[in-house]
């Protein structure tokens, strides 16, 4: 058993080594932590932003409108404020844009966003962190067909859909030594050069709500799942105690 312990120690160390943030290569992203909130107010605001700013091009084809009752909206409110393309509340949040047309216009068809928060998770952070950073990292770039570029998603096909809220940012470049004696140009930071409707903090809060909604949309039953989890764990805990006592009751005659 000594060997076993040693092996387990090695495994644990390896696991720890894997878990610790490694010295990242230059290409790795630094993502801001997204302040995700599942309060009804945040999710409702996020839903409103999503319908107004995203659903022109992006669908959420796995989500039915009436699911939004789960975030505190009534069916009437959904019908009145959020549904433009259909009148059936059980319908999925699809868009009228044809994929072929979209491909023609943007080069790539805008992806369906139902699962985007789950798909964008990586070693650099959660999908929410990626989205939160991405939506705040657009800057003006005249070399791009849309006039926009993004720090998190270089040469992105999408223009800055929320620019009227955030305003226009420009990239401040800095030339640095890369450690091998070569000069490389990097983006040091983004600066708002033309203010939008919102102050930067207000904009961040709006993006946080939108991201919260996207996370919720990725798996609308996630809070129920976690809630149920505690009950299941408690029941299994009781089962384990009983099973332990049962085992002892039998094994007392093994000698």
């Amino acid at each position: 058993m000594k060997l076993l312990n040693k092996l387990l120690c090695v495994a644990a160390l390896l696991g720890a080594a894997l878990g610790t943030p490694l010295a990242q290569a230059a290409t790795e992203l630094k993502l801001d932590k997204a302040p995700v909130s599942f309060s009804n107010a945040s999710l409702q605001n996020g839903a409103k932003l999503f319908v107004n700013y995203c659903m022109g091009c992006h669908g959420a084809s796995f989500l039915r409108y009436n699911r939004l009752t789960q975030i505190g909206l009534t069916e009437q409110q959904i019908k009145d404020n959020l549904m433009f393309s259909t009148d059936k509340v059980g319908e999925q949040m699809k868009i009228a844009l044809r994929r072929e047309d979209a491909k023609q216009w943007f080069g790539v068809a805008p992806p369906d966003l139902t699962l985007v928060a789950r798909a964008r998770a990586s070693e650099s952070g959660t999908g929410a962190d990626w989205l939160y950073t991405y939506l705040r990292s657009f800057y003006r770039d005249d070399t791009r067909p849309t006039g926009w570029n993004n720090v998190v998603f270089p040469n992105v096909g999408m223009p800055h859909a929320l620019w009227s809220l955030q305003g226009e940012q420009e990239a401040r470049l800095v030339t640095k030594d890369d450690g091998h004696g070569k000069k490389v140009t990097e983006i040091e930071k983004l600066e708002v050069v033309k203010p939008g409707l919102l102050m930067p903090e207000e904009y961040d809060a709006q993006v946080a709500d939108l991201v919260s909604f996207l996370v919720w949309m990725g798996e609308p039953s996630q809070e129920t799942r976690r809630g149920l989890g505690w009950i299941v764990l408690a029941a299994l805990g009781v089962l384990a105690v009983l099973a332990y006592l049962l085992k002892h009751a039998y094994w007392k005659d093994v000698h």
């Binding site: 290569a25 230059a26 290409t27 890369d178 091998h180 070569k182 490389v184």
Partner: protein, 210 residues
């Protein structure tokens, strides 16, 4: 044979006669014919694994409009379910092909899959437009364009620009030629293609002898 009588099973209503040649012959014949029937029956089942007529019919040539492609950019079209890249190479990119020559496994494309009219290091009908199947010759991933040369690419100081396969790290130059000691054995495949006009290209079809 007849000596091992003690092992022969027997009962009230039967007794086994082992050395019966007639029985042996029939046994062998039945086994052979039965086996043949079995193998014959397997044929349609095994054959059903082959591509169906529908799959075979899906390989029609595709026409591409390349008028909007800017120098230094690439576009991807679908042909037979595979990505086909069209890269419009600028001067520096064509220049880089010479630089990479010494780092390649098969610079002359002697063992590559390419039409007979594709020759030389540019591997193209018109040097400026490079057309190839964007599928790594190792295990079929689609490599990523890494056109930026040098250290900024994150690949290495001597990177001349080209393609990097995300699956196993195979590297190709801007003519789709594979670097030495890479998992991929061969250069990228060039599909049959021909120009219908200066800005229209057809992939999957070539004019004979062109």
């Amino acid at each position: 044979m007849s000596n091992d009588k003690q092992d022969v099973p027997g009962g009230a209503s039967f007794s086994c006669s082992c050395a019966d040649t007639n029985r042996r012959q029939l046994l062998a014949a039945t086994a052979v014919v039965g086996g043949a029937v079995g193998v014959g029956t397997a044929v349609p089942f095994v054959a059903s694994f082959l591509p169906s007529e529908r799959a075979k019919a899906a390989g029609a040539p595709v026409e591409v409009d390349i008028s909007r492609l800017q120098p230094g950019e690439m576009m991807t079209v679908e042909w037979r379910g595979k990505p086909v890249w069209i890269v419009r190479r600028n001067k520096e990119m064509l220049e880089s092909l010479k630089k990479s020559e010494t780092m390649l496994a098969d610079p002359g494309s002697s063992r590559s899959d390419q039409p007979s009219y594709i020759k030389g290091m540019a591997r193209a009908i018109k040097d400026e437009y490079f057309v190839c199947v964007g599928i790594c010759t190792h295990l079929g991933c689609s490599p990523t364009a890494k056109f930026v040369p040098g250290a900024e690419s994150g690949i290495g100081d001597d990177w001349p620009g080209g393609f990097l396969c995300p699956c196993h790290g195979s590297r190709f130059d801007l003519s789709g030629r594979v670097f030495k000691s890479m998992p991929a054995p061969d250069n990228l495949v060039i599909p049959p293609h021909t120009y219908l006009s200066d800005t229209r290209l057809i992939i999957g079809e070539d004019t004979k002898g062109a």
